[in-house]
Symmetry: C2
C-alpha cells in the first residue's frame, strides 16, 4: 500500500520551559512522514529552500521516506517558524512565520505518486491541498489537517477541501474556532455536514476523540512526566494514525480505533524530545509497548 | 456496608447559557449523597438553616439518604452559593458565597455512623474534615475532596487531612494550584508524598484520571451534546465512585477502575439537568447502559 504525505517541511526555532533550539527540522509533513514511516514507506511532497541542510535530507532517506516529490528551490529560503511555549504546553505562541518557499508553491505530484492508496494533507494552505486533490486519483482514504491560521484566513477554501476528504483532523480549540461551537460533539457534527464522515479532535494532554457517523471513540493522553517540546505532537499523531491504516490497508472502525492508539503512542514519544529528536531512533518494540501501556491505562 | 458522607448542603442560584434557577438544592454532600444513593444507602452529616425547604428533606429520604446527622439550625440560614457559567462550562464563576450555618459548624457524627466502613469527606472547611476524622474509627477507606478556596485559605489544614486519607479527589486546575506543578503526573506524586495512595483528578469534559502508586487509570468524559448545568458534576462523580466501592465492599484496583466509570456515568446524567434534577429519577438501568456506552467509547 502506498502513502502520500503533502505538507510543510520547515526549520523551526523553539523555546520551551525546558530549553531551546534554533533552525531544527520541523514542519507538518516532516512530523507526519517521520511518524508514519514506522509503519509504512512514505512518499513526501513538499518544498524547501537552498538553505535546507543536506543532513536532514539524509535523515528522511534513512527513515524510508521517498524524496522524489521534494522540490529544492534555488531562489528562496526554507519555510521558518519561531515560537515558544509557557507552562501550559498545550498552547504554542508564534513569534514569527516566514512562508518563504511556500509563498508561491504549486505542488506537482510525481506521476507514480498520483495513484496513491492513502493521502494525508498535512497542514498547509487549503488551496494547495485542493490542488493536490486535483492531481491524485483513486485514493482510498484522504485525511486533511489544518491550523487556526487557515481557518481564519481561508475558511471557504478549507470548506472546499473538506467536501472532498474522508477525515478531518483538528485541534480542539481550532474546531471551536471553525464551527463557532463550544461543544465538541456539536462541532464535529457541523464539520460532518461539510463532507467528512470522520472528525478526529486532538486535545493535547487530554487525549483525542474520533467522531464517526454512528459512533465515537475517545482515548486519554498517555500521562508523561517529561514533556520537553510539544511541537509536532499533533502531526506525529496524524502520522501514526495514517501509517497504521496504510499498513493494515483498511479503514474498518476497528482499525481506525487502533490507529488512534498508535497515533497517540507515537505522539507521546515525539514530545519527549526537542523537534524531531523523539522520532529519531524509535524502535518498533517501544511503540508496541506503549500501545500495550494504553491498554493498561484504559482497562476497566 | 455503610457509607458516611460529610459536606455541605446548600441552596444554589445558578445561571448557565441555557437558563437559570434560584435557591435550588445544592452543596457538595447533596450531590455526593444523591449519586451514591443509586448504589448504597447513605448516612449524611451536614447542617442547614431554618429556611431549608421541607420538600428537599423529603427528596433526600426518598432516595434512601439517612438524615439523622443533618442538623437544622434554628438561628441561621442555609449555606448559599451563587454563580454562573459562560460558554466554557468547565469554569464556574462565583458571584457570592454565604457560609451562614457553616460559619460555626462543628460536626457531630451520630454514634451509629462513627464506625462506618466508607467515608467521603466532601468539599468543606478542612478543619471540619479533620474533626470528622477524629470522631470516626475503623473506617476502611476515606476519600477527601476540596476546592480552590480551601487550597488558598487553609493549605496547612488541608495537608493535615491528606495525611490521614486514602484518596484525594481534586479538579485539574486545583491540583495545579495546590502543588504548583503544571504536569498532572508530577502533581499527583507530590500529593501522594503527603499521604494518600490514590489521587483522582477530575478534568471536566476531558474526563478523569486516577493515579495510584504503581498504576494509572484514565477515562475520557462521555461526549454529551446537551450539558445544561455542570454544577455538582464533580461531586456526582465522587458519589458514584464511593457508592460503587461501598456496594462492592472492595478497594481492589479492578473495583476502583469500575468505580471511576460509574462516577463518570452518574456525572454525565447530573450535568444534563439544572441543579440536582439530573439525579432525581434516574433508573439504575440507565446507569448500567451508560457504563456499557463507556465500554464502546473506549474500546480498541
Amino acid at each position: 500500500m502506498s502513502l502520500l504525505v503533502v505538507g510543510s517541511v520547515a526549520l523551526d526555532s523553539i523555546k520551551t520551559p525546558f530549553g531551546k533550539r534554533e533552525d531544527v527540522l520541523g514542519g507538518s509533513a516532516t512530523y507526519l512522514a517521520l511518524a508514519a514511516s514506522y509503519f509504512t514507506p512514505v512518499n513526501l511532497v513538499s518544498v524547501v529552500g537552498h538553505d535546507f541542510p543536506g543532513s536532514y535530507l539524509e535523515f528522511f532517506r534513512k527513515r524510508n521516506i521517498n524524496l522524489e516529490g521534494l522540490t529544492i528551490s534555488k531562489n528562496n529560503r526554507t519555510f521558518r517558524w519561531q515560537g515558544y511555549y509557557e507552562d501550559d504546553l498545550n498552547e504554542a505562541h508564534t513569534i514569527r512565520t516566514e512562508l518563504n518557499v511556500f509563498e508561491n508553491f504549486k505542488p506537482e505530484i510525481p506521476k507514480e505518486y498520483q495513484s496513491c492508496d492513502y493521502l494525508f494533507l498535512a497542514n498547509v494552505d487549503p488551496d494547495i491541498q485542493s490542488e493536490v486533490l486535483h492531481q491524485v486519483k483513486g485514493v482510498k482514504f484522504v485525511v486533511c489537517d489544518t491550523i487556526g491560521y487557515w481557518i481564519d484566513k481561508k475558511p471557504e477554501s478549507l470548506k472546499k477541501v473538506l467536501a472532498k476528504v474522508d477525515a478531518f483532523m483538528v485541534n480542539e480549540s481550532e474546531l471551536r474556532e471553525f464551527t463557532h461551537e463550544s461543544n465538541l460533539l456539536k462541532g464535529a457534527k457541523k464539520v460532518m455536514e461539510l463532507g467528512p464522515g470522520i472528525v478526529v479532535v486532538k486535545r493535547g494532554d487530554s487525549g483525542a476523540t474520533m467522531f464517526m457517523t454512528n459512533s465515537i471513540f475517545s482515548l486519554p493522553a498517555y500521562p508523561l512526566e517529561a514533556v520537553l517540546d510539544p511541537t509536532g505532537a499533533g502531526d506525529s499523531f496524524g502520522g501514526g494514525f495514517i501509517g497504521y491504516i496504510c499498513q493494515e490497508d483498511s479503514t474498518e472502525e476497528k482499525i481506525l480505533r487502533k490507529a488512534m492508539v498508535y497515533g497517540s503512542a507515537i505522539a507521546s514519544f515525539s514530545v519527549g524530545g526537542f523537534g524531531t529528536e523523539g522520532l529519531k531512533d524509535l524502535e518498533f518494540e517501544r511503540i508496541e509497548k506503549r500501545h500495550h501501556e494504553f491498554e493498561e491505562l484504559t482497562d476497566f
